[in-house]
């Protein structure tokens, strides 16, 4: 099981702040994960329809979309940051 956490409008559109998912073996990279999630229902499709804008952190560190997710304990998905 992998813990997924969502923030801002990604969280609002998916309708939950976090969940634990069993990911199939063919989900190797962040890109694979985003594609897999979009197949889980229209709320995921609404949140992730433009995957290029989604920012991703593995175990609380920023990663690119071609990063492998093997071994990740927690994966965060969120929009570009607007703090400061």
């Amino acid at each position: 099981m992998t813990k997924l956490v969502y923030f801002a409008w990604v969280r609002e559109r998916i309708g939950k702040a976090e969940e634990e998912l069993a990911l199939p073996a063919e989900v190797v990279t962040v890109d694979d994960l985003l594609n897999h999630l979009r197949g889980l229902g229209e709320e995921y499709e609404a949140a992730l329809q433009f995957p290029d804008v989604i920012r991703v952190a593995i175990d609380q560190e920023h990663v690119e979309h071609d990063e492998p997710i093997a071994g990740a304990r927690e994966i965060g998905l969120f929009p570009p940051m607007t703090g400061g």
Binding site: F7, A57, H62, F78, T82, G83, G84
Partner: protein, 155 residues
Amino acid sequence: MTTITPTIRVQCEDFDQQAEIDRMTKGRHDVGAVVTFTGLCRGESGRLEALELEHYPGMAEAEITRIATLAIERFSLLGLTAIHRYGTIATGENIVLVVAASPHRQAAFDGANFVMDFLKTSAPFWKKEHGRDGKAGDWISAKDADDRARDKWQG
């Protein structure tokens, strides 16, 4: 190798700039310059009532610490404090504070400026507008200008 540890806080409550300056300078005689940056919630000409600030707990602290440590090393700072608030912040209230201390003025200016530019684009915080009309508005979009401000520190 740096031996300066940044002071990083992510908190709901307001901060006190004077207390943070004093904490960095009292009892020492090597600090010649202290620069503070305070970011406040603007009312956007009366349209806004407040901003709601969401953050990624744990990662927010880690990411600001990473940025602050880069700044300490790059500008040989004597001290660096960064405090970022979350929750509902009314217009006119403080959002973020950066304090940088150095022997000389340009390093203190650059250190605080560098931390703000990276904090804007990589610290996991998101702002949602709350209007004067009582409605929750949109999430604020990231600005290309913020990416360009960050990129000026390249190379």
